[in-house]
């Protein structure tokens, strides 16, 4: 860890130095992130509806109870689970596979990387639109390709049928997210010191064993952290679903964040605040649990 060398004593002057260095970041985060969040959190305990903002009394937990009593909230919660777990699973393993394949130098690797990493350069919103266009039930190219290949007999309204919509948005999300994992895992793989492998080959370990016993343990902390960050991001950034289905049809792709957006557009800021606080609470609880399980707290 950090303290390989003796650290200078903690003095007032040092404290001032530390504070000054952390100040710029802290100011930004406090002013533009925490302050609005706290104000938003307060609204969750008020009757705060656009319909009449002239009276906004405190109503205790009323907004929370009303959200929790709603079946749609629970549907959104279940969908959130599916959305995060399935997306993450494929993003992770495909990304891992890609990173392993790209690990060793080969001719054209640079060029290949430049092209294959391209989804990373696009915004989730654009990717949503692009896939919405490709999944279109009439003019969508995916239907056309599947018809030509003889896999389907008639066009499928991918984003129109509750059975297909979630699969479709997840496919788009996987396409989008594999690159992120590939980049991150490649970086992690490169951090494994070659000496470790040398030691292992002396022992005559097979490639498979090498991977299990040398590579994986070494990059595990990194993997744990990027998986956590990714989970938070997949959950918190609804732009892809928002631009593909808006949560429809019939709420079948509603995740907790699109549900939140709907509350905001319905004008009930109080309830929106309550949904937001519930989402934040769940994420926090999950992260603490996750960090404990992966024992990240040690570092």
């Amino acid at each position: 860890m950090v303290a390989r060398h003796a650290k200078p004593a903690f003095t007032v002057r040092r404290a001032r130095f530390i504070a000054l260095c952390l100040l710029p970041g802290a100011v930004f985060v406090a002013l533009f992130t925490y302050y609005p969040m706290i104000r938003g959190a307060v609204i969750a305990f008020q009757r705060y509806n656009l319909f009449d903002l002239t009276s906004t009394p405190f109503v205790g937990l009323e907004n929370f109870w009303s959200v929790l009593a709603e079946e749609r909230f629970w549907t959104a919660l279940r969908n959130t689970g599916t959305w995060v777990v399935v997306s993450l699973f494929f993003q992770f393993f495909l990304g891992f596979g890609l990173a392993l394949l790209l690990r060793r130098q080969f001719r054209g690797r640079g060029l290949y990387q430049a092209w294959v990493f391209f989804p990373w350069a696009m915004s989730g919103f654009l990717i949503g639109l692009l896939w919405r266009w490709m999944f279109n039930g009439q003019f969508g190219v995916i239907n056309d390709l599947l018809l030509k290949a003889g896999i389907i007999d008639e066009r499928i309204g991918f984003l129109a049928s509750p059975g297909w919509a979630m699969t479709s948005v997840i496919v788009a999300n996987i396409w989008y997210g594999v690159t992120f994992f590939a980049i991150m895992i490649m970086a992690a793989l490169q951090s494994v010191p070659p000496e470790l492998y040398e030691a292992a080959s002396v022992d005559g370990a097979s490639r498979m064993r090498q991977f299990w016993h040398v590579t994986l343990p070494h990059i595990r902390p990194t993997l744990a952290l990027i998986v956590l960050l990714r989970i938070i991001w997949i959950l918190n950034f609804p732009d892809l679903i928002y631009s593909m289905t808006g949560g429809g049809p019939a709420g079948s792709t509603d995740i907790i964040t699109t549900f939140l957006i709907q509350q905001v557009s319905g004008g009930d800021y109080g309830r929106a605040g309550a949904v937001g606080m519930l989402a934040l609470g769940l994420l926090l609880a999950f992260s603490i649990f996750y960090l404990n399980v992966t024992r990240m707290e040690r570092s």
Partner: protein
């Protein structure tokens, strides 16, 4: 020592960002000039162009006044307007919609507009005058035009006469549905519940209270009757047997695209679509009034939006002048033509463009006493929430996740509760 060395750059950084902020792109208004800020809601590129040209005329006629037009993307426009209104700053003129008028007036964001003292007032049609004061009983906006639905249909897909009832529409649509073609541009996405309400109203017919169109004359909701169930049965059949499966998620653009790209043979939409269809590849088409229910009645609201002035405008006089300018015959007719809307000016009644071709269906509907204009409960607190909830219910219904009885029951309960809240 060391600390101050590093403190300097970080302080510099903070200072630099603040300076950047202070002298950003926004420039203060120069002396003597009045600068109005105006925001539109139903944004589209062509419409923005038109509004800009009207504004240019206004600026020419009023030296010393400049107008900045803000055109947020349609999807987020109303939310953006509400956000600006909450800051009570930097906005003078805005587009107010029937959906948003009530909450805006509740919150005290809109200024009352002079009516009788303005020469243009008497030139407005009765409908325009009525709608100007509909919400809150005070003139918070001047409508710029009206949206009323009409039936668009292909004349080259084997249909000789347009359907006059929903039953006929269903049968005709079913006949048209073969292979890649479908009978009807169904709206299952955003705004879809509106069409269910339209059918339910037609089936309830005369017993509906046109002033509060979600209620019957006997105060029950329109969703509580056996007629409502009948209407929804047919509604579901129209979707299943005469509409593209993809239309589960169709909203305005997809419905229109469905019709103009030759996927569907019938479409019920606003007059704006007349222009779109004229410019499309579909050549053999016509219009007719919306279909009726078994009672012989068709009921629909007339949608509208207009220009209003904010209560916190620092240049209210000029802002009102701009709104009045836009509502004068010449400008309002140009605007109605450009967007193909039902005009607000009496003078437009002599204009051939609004009485010929596709527009004839509107005149026909106006003359028919059984084509009734209603007022939706847009001024009830639950209005926006219902808009979102009911659309989802419709999707749940047509995808088989909910039954007709469940949907109607929840809508009935919702509006019965709203009636209690309002009274």
């Amino acid at each position: 020592m060391t600390s101050s060395r590093l403190a300097a750059p970080s302080a510099l950084l903070a200072a630099a960002t603040l300076v950047l902020a202070a002298c950003g792109s926004g420039s203060g208004s120069s002396s003597g000039e009045v600068r109005l800020r105006m925001i539109e809601s139903l944004t589209s590129p062509d419409r923005t162009k038109l509004i800009k040209s009207l504004i240019a005329d206004f600026e020419k006629a009023n030296p010393g006044v400049t107008v900045e037009l803000v055109s947020p993307p349609l999807e987020s426009a109303d939310q953006k307007i509400n956000q600006i209104m909450q800051t009570k700053k930097d906005l003078d003129v805005l587009e107010v919609r029937d959906h948003t008028a009530k909450s805006m007036s509740n919150n005290g964001w809109l200024a009352e507009l002079p009516t009788t003292s303005w020469s243009g007032w008497s030139d407005l049609t009765d409908l325009a005058q009525k709608k100007a004061v509909e919400v809150g009983g005070k003139p918070y906006l001047l409508p710029y035009g009206f949206y009323q639905r009409t039936l668009f249909y292909r004349t080259d897909w084997g249909m000789t006469q347009p359907p006059t009832t929903w039953q006929e529409l269903y049968e005709a649509g079913k006949k048209m549905t073969t292979g890649d073609r479908f009978g009807y541009s169904f709206r299952g996405g955003k705004g879809g519940a509106d069409y269910a309400v339209m059918m339910i109203s037609a089936y309830n017919g005369e017993s509906v209270n046109p002033e509060k169109a979600y209620y019957l004359k006997d105060k029950r909701t329109i969703f509580s009757t056996p007629e409502a169930t009948q209407a929804m049965d047919l509604y579901l059949k129209i979707f299943k047997e005469a509409s593209p499966p993809d239309s589960v998620s169709w909203a305005y653009p997809e419905m229109v695209q469905g019709f103009t790209s030759g996927v569907t043979g019938m479409l019920i939409q606003d007059p704006e679509v007349i222009k779109t269809v004229q410019e499309s590849a579909v050549k053999a088409w016509s219009t007719s009034p919306i279909p009726k229910g078994p009672t012989g009645y068709a009921l629909q609201p007339v949608g509208y939006a207009g220009w209003g002035v904010t209560s916190f405008s620092k240049h209210q006089k000029e802002a009102i002048k701009l709104v009045q300018f836009l509502s004068e015959a010449k400008q309002s007719i140009a605007f109605a033509k450009g967007n193909s809307l039902i005009p607000i000016s009496k003078q437009a009644q002599d204009d051939p463009q609004f009485s010929q071709g596709a527009w004839k269906a509107y005149l026909e509907a106006q003359r028919d006493p059984k084509q009734v204009i209603t007022i939706r409960p847009v001024d009830y607190p639950g209005w926006s929430q219902f808009g979102i909830d009911s659309d989802r219910d419709v999707q749940a219904l047509i995808t088989g996740k909910k039954t007709i009885a469940e949907v109607l029951k929840s809508w009935d309960a919702f509006w019965a509760d709203q009636a209690k809240q309002v009274s």
